[in-house]
């Protein structure tokens, strides 16, 4: 059986055929020039086009054939449905339960294994390892990290084959694909902005997405530097406020808070016709987890000198753990598919 339900495949083909005869939206993003190179739209083509689409929404209000026109063309929503199908993820509820259960379980285990006197004591300089031992923490996050990495690799490798191109990407195409992805050039309605509430274009979605992405990267970098300090240089956490891990972690954490809250509220207020319900729910789930990670991380930094440190540390670790465990099965995967589609787009356009 194909990964794409026949009804989605038929609707995608129908809509792309109309778009290909019209082409008015050509200037909005990569989807339309990529479409124009095709005359047939099978599941592999649709999967590729769907992953090029950043869901800025600009082409829906611009479309003379949008519902209630009898042609009923809704490109953003149709591609959103096909895109989320192309990831072939477990059911939303399953992923949510997995995230809550793994975070909750770790929370309980850590609480049960920490003496209350230790947990609520004030630790000099916020010494995390007095609460959770260094080796335990390393074991825990080696496991979570390996789970996430292997899981993401497996999900991507087994799914992306269905929509990959045949042409080999050269260096220039790879560079352009990365550049398009990192700058989100396709998330801006061709310069006009994304469609937000009341069909008003604006650039805020792109800005919030940048905050989330680079905030996440900054936090990730902070963790890598900390791991290097700890395991190679032998400098034990916690690190002073002026150290690289704290600076990157703080900046990244604040960016994540603002970006996640911003994207979350945009999604909540956004016209439901612009995307698939399931994709939206998965986006919100990821945003909530990232927000909680950043919030507990920053609280831990602020209160690391107080008696609340122990409980905040355990809470933060549990949420990070739940985030890592669910990364391969949620919206986080869109980044890899998007990047691959953009590299393919650069390859095709360069021909």
């Amino acid at each position: 059986m194909s990964w794409l339900e026949p009804s989605f495949a038929a609707e995608g083909e129908r809509i792309m055929t109309i778009c290909n005869a019209c082409r008015y939206c050509e200037g909005y993003c990569a989807v339309f020039p990529a479409m124009e190179k095709r005359t047939e739209f099978g599941p592999a083509d649709l999967g590729y086009l769907a992953n090029l689409c950043h869901n800025c929404g600009a082409c829906l209000p611009a479309c003379q054939y949008a519902p209630p026109h009898e042609f009923g063309v809704n490109v953003p929503q149709t591609l959103s449905q096909i895109r989320i199908a192309s990831y072939q993820l477990p059911r939303r509820k399953t992923v949510l339960m997995l995230g809550i259960a793994s975070a909750g379980l770790l929370l309980l285990v850590l609480l049960a294994n920490t003496a209350w006197t230790t947990l609520f004591a004030r630790h000099a300089g916020g010494a995390f390892y007095d609460v959770i031992s260094h080796d335990e923490m390393v074991r825990l996050f080696l496991f979570a990290g390996a789970w996430a990495l292997i899981g993401m690799g497996l999900v991507f490798a087994t799914r992306y084959g269905a929509i990959r191109g045949v042409a080999r990407a050269d260096y220039g195409a790879i560079r352009r694909g990365w550049s398009d992805a990192l700058r989100l050039v396709n998330l801006g309605g061709g310069g006009e902005g994304c469609i937000e509430e009341h069909e008003r274009p604006a650039q805020v979605r792109r800005i919030y997405h940048h905050l989330v992405f680079y905030g996440f990267l900054s936090c990730f970098l902070a963790t890598i530097i900390a791991a290097f300090y700890d395991n190679v240089l032998g400098w034990r956490a916690p690190y002073p406020f002026a150290s690289l891990p704290v600076i990157f972690g703080t900046l990244g954490g604040i960016a994540l808070l603002v970006g996640c809250a911003g994207l979350f509220s945009l999604l909540r207020e956004r016209d439901a016709a612009l995307s698939d319900k399931g994709e939206r729910a998965r986006s919100m789930m990821l945003l909530a987890f990232l927000f909680a990670t950043a919030a507990t991380g920053l609280l831990l930094l602020v209160f690391r000198g107080t008696a609340a440190m122990g409980i905040l540390l355990i809470l933060h670790l549990a949420i990070v753990f739940g985030l890592f465990v669910t990364l391969p099965y949620g919206k986080f995967m869109h980044g890899f598919f998007r990047l691959a589609a953009l590299v393919r787009f650069a390859t095709e356009q360069g021909d």
């Binding site: 005869a21 008015y24 050509e26 124009e36 479309c63 003379q64 009898e70 061709g190 069909e199």
Partner: protein, 459 residues
């Protein structure tokens, strides 16, 4: 009482409403369509034809006023008002800056329309995106907009506008205003009116654009003493896929296969030179040609050599492995079609095929000839597309002066009635068409009418 009443909801109406509101007038705009279908035929447009003396933003090379005007003379056969035409053309040189200030975005010519990259500035996302931007601009300026307001009656007294009455939710409403801007389009959606001009043939026409251009306001103005301009029986029509919806099929229903093969009528016979000239110069005559054929239907037939060589169409071709099979699928007499194809193939003379130029592949000894791109139809599979006339717009309008004021029977301008857009385009264009000039006329006169209306109120 309103200051300025704008009737219509397309490009010209919005340009007028915005321009009047910018000068401080209180503006009420009555759009007959529901919000989802607002924008008249402008929602189906995609570019505006602009003069320019050097490469500028999205436009390549130069398109000077003289060439623009010559192009207009060519398509209209010289039947234009030179003063108004030059006014329109000149206003197009800096119009993009004004449009951009109202939220318009431009892009280079769309793929498949590169022949327009020099003369036409394309709207990012097309005409509906432009209309959305204009409606937002109008709302920001405080223009009051009422949708589904179907104006049926104008009260005029000695050439002066007094009030309009519109139907909404099965009730009539009357609105008085000091100035009227009529920008309500032509009458191409009014099937009864079309039948008056075309007879029963009109029943087989499809309307490419909005179903809301009923021509009520145009007729009310004429009945109120405005001078008519343009041939009341003429309309601009192209060949579109016969399977298109009755209304609002827009751009995707056009078919660009005609020059690549042959076109036959319902008797399986050719009736016009398919290769007379380059397609962009000839596409606009095929609506009328098909309208003159029995039952207003025709069929474009191409073979495997043409496939993939024209813009993809929205409806799939009817495919067959032989001409006889194709005839059966198209409901044509197989023998008649086979005979037509046989005669055509036999008349094809050798040449060097090049679809980009007027090549030397022509027929000899048949009537009508095919003057260019004539190649035998001999490579299966064969594709067929049914064609019908698709009306774009009508030419009948009201006469205006350079201030967009409507001229009354006594040749004097009405003191408070302005017109803009398709409802007065006949002043400049009474036959033929120049791609993108509809938007140029609508924008030029919409702005003139809006400014004139506001000054009239302030005076």
């Amino acid at each position: 009482m309103e200051d300025v009443l704008v009737i219509g909801g397309g490009n010209a109406a919005l340009c007028a409403a915005i321009s009047a509101a910018q000068l401080g007038a209180r503006v009420l705009l009555l759009e007959c369509a529901p919000k989802d279908f607002r924008g008249g035929n402008s929602r189906h447009t995609r570019n505006i034809r602009c003069m320019h003396d050097a490469p500028v933003d999205v436009l390549t090379d130069a398109y000077p006023e003289s060439e623009y005007f010559e192009d207009l003379l060519r398509v209209t056969g010289g039947d234009t008002d030179e003063q108004l035409a030059r006014l329109t053309i000149r206003s197009s040189s800096d119009v993009r800056a004004w449009m951009a200030a109202q939220g318009a975005h431009f892009q280079p010519a769309l793929s498949g329309t590169l022949q327009l990259s020099r003369t036409n500035a394309f709207f990012l996302g097309g005409g509906k995106a432009l209309m959305n931007a204009y409606y937002r601009a109008a709302e920001r300026l405080g223009v009051r907009i009422i949708y589904e307001a179907d104006v049926r009656k104008l009260e005029m007294s000695d050439g002066r506008f007094v009030a309009a009455s519109y139907a909404q939710n099965a009730a009539m409403h009357r609105v008085e205003a000091r100035v009227l801007v009529a920008a309500a389009g032509g009458f191409e959606s009014n099937l009864r009116w079309l039948r008056e001009a075309w007879g029963p043939a009109a029943d087989n026409f499809l309307v490419r654009g909005t179903p809301y251009n009923m021509g009520w306001v145009l007729r009310e103005l004429i009945d109120g003493g405005a001078q008519m301009i343009g041939d009341p029986t003429q309309c601009h029509a192209i060949a579109i896929d016969a399977r298109s919806p009755k209304f609002d099929g827009g751009i995707v229903t056009r078919l660009d296969s005609i020059t690549l093969g042959i076109v036959v009528n319902k008797h399986g016979q050719r009736f016009y030179d398919e290769g007379e000239d380059l397609w962009p110069k000839r596409y606009a005559i095929w609506g009328r040609l098909i309208a003159q054929q029995p039952d207003q239907i025709a069929y474009s037939i191409v073979d495997a050599k043409a496939q993939g060589k024209f813009m993809p169409s929205v409806f799939p071709p009817i495919v067959a492995d032989s001409i006889a099979e194709l005839a059966a699928k198209l409901d044509l007499d197989p023998e008649a079609l086979a005979q037509t194809v046989h005669e055509y193939n036999a008349a094809v003379r050798p040449g060097t095929y090049d679809h980009k130029i007027l090549d030397d592949c022509a027929t000899s000894g048949i009537a009508p000839p095919k003057s260019h791109w004539a190649r035998a139809l001999d490579a299966a599979p064969f594709w067929g597309y049914p064609l019908r006339p698709g009306i774009t717009f009508t030419y009948l309008g009201v006469k205006v002066n350079e201030h967009a004021q409507v001229l009354m029977q006594d040749d004097k301008p009405s003191p408070n009635v302005f017109a803009a857009g398709e409802i007065m385009a006949g002043n400049i264009l009474r036959k033929g068409y120049l791609g993108g000039i509809g938007l140029t006329i609508g924008t030029a006169f919409g702005r003139i009418a809006g400014v004139g209306a506001a000054r009239n109120v302030m005076a």
